[in-house]
Symmetry: C2
């Protein structure tokens, strides 16, 4: 019974996600669903990407959180269109929440849309939002065992960013073993090592993004 | 409809949790529900606590993860009774999963039971397991805005551990503002600053635990 309910929910979600994708395509918007644990650096990545692509790409942002509008306020200061979704208690965004946010954004002015999901490595991976790419930000302080513990998320990601590599000297984290573990779950994901704090590796990420926009 | 279903689930969970609590009490076991984001240091805290209380307290551990038995294997090496729950896809432990684990542990040999929940700051807070105390491990790299974003978790915690304080020199994290934010949501929680890596602050945590065991 419970499984049936879950299938119905996911099936209905897929339909709305497909409608979102069509809406985004009709407006020429490329959408990235940004997922991570709490505090791995989703908002910092968006901020650094806005700065890095200033004058090159029109960016818009949907901020997803259980509570608060802290992130939307931070992003709003950069002068890009942003809307905050508060899920109330839900541990992930879904396609319907995303649809309501899309209806309140000036899509004609946006080429690249970041949808910052709720900080959660589990349920966020199950719910399509209508995005074109799923990007996972992992971070060095979380430890290098995460692909084994959260396999669905690592399996579904188109890109895995390893953030906070500036902290490598202070922590036990084997980048090679980590990349190898990701490869065991996901043969195709792009893997970039970055630091939003120092800017290291950001150019690779920005180039990848610009390439995606060009190839559309 | 959806809310009705959720209420039923939480109501049924509470009943099983209460039964778990009675079972634990009848065996003289004090149970701690340990919650955090992925990689904040739950397993490290258990390891350091086992070492710190060696010869003083009989410890047992339930390990909760979506997938893998990495943590149970690490804990097992310390020679304490441990059982792994794999939730399959569920983002939190519930009372029923806990009950099955309790049935497979030698409760008569355990005075202090750690139940390491799934790495998740949201849904884990909603499901009682039958524990006597809820302990939240937050960590410095996650950033000091988390109480605003995950208020239910911070509201429900009996103890908030601020872990990885050895990384403070390398990160922007205002301990005072963070503690203040916790206080705004939760007047009573004990707050300890610790580092499982260096051992800093661990004595305070161990003393608190031993006090709880004495006061039962």
């Amino acid at each position: 019974m419970e499984i049936k309910v879950l299938k119905d929910i996911l099936g209905a979600n897929e339909q709305i996600a497909e409608r979102n994708r069509q809406l985004l395509d009709s407006k020429g918007v490329f959408a990235v669903n940004l997922m991570s644990s709490p505090g791995a650096g989703k908002t910092s990545l968006i901020l650094e990407t806005i700065k890095g692509l200033k004058g090159k790409t029109r960016i818009g942002v949907i901020e997803g959180d259980v509570s608060s509008s802290i992130d939307a306020e931070i992003i709003g200061k950069e002068g890009v269109p942003v809307i905050q979704i508060n899920t109330g208690g839900e541990c992930h965004l879904d396609a319907n929440m995303t649809y309501r946010a899309l209806s309140n954004l000036p899509l004609q002015d946006i080429a690249l849309l970041f949808i910052e999901n709720v900080g959660n490595l589990i349920c966020t991976a199950e719910f399509a939002l209508g995005e074109h790419r799923k990007v996972l930000i992992s971070s060095v302080p979380e430890g290098d065992d995460k692909p084994f513990k959260y396999p669905l998320m690592f399996h579904k990601a188109d890109v895995v960013l390893i953030n906070k590599i500036d902290l490598l000297p202070h922590l036990k984290f084997d980048v090679q073993a980590y990349s190898h573990a990701i490869r065991g779950i996901n043969e195709k994901a792009e893997i970039f090592e970055i630091s939003c704090a120092t800017g290291q590796g950001m150019q690779q990420w920005l180039s990848w993004l610009q390439n995606q926009l060009r190839l559309r």
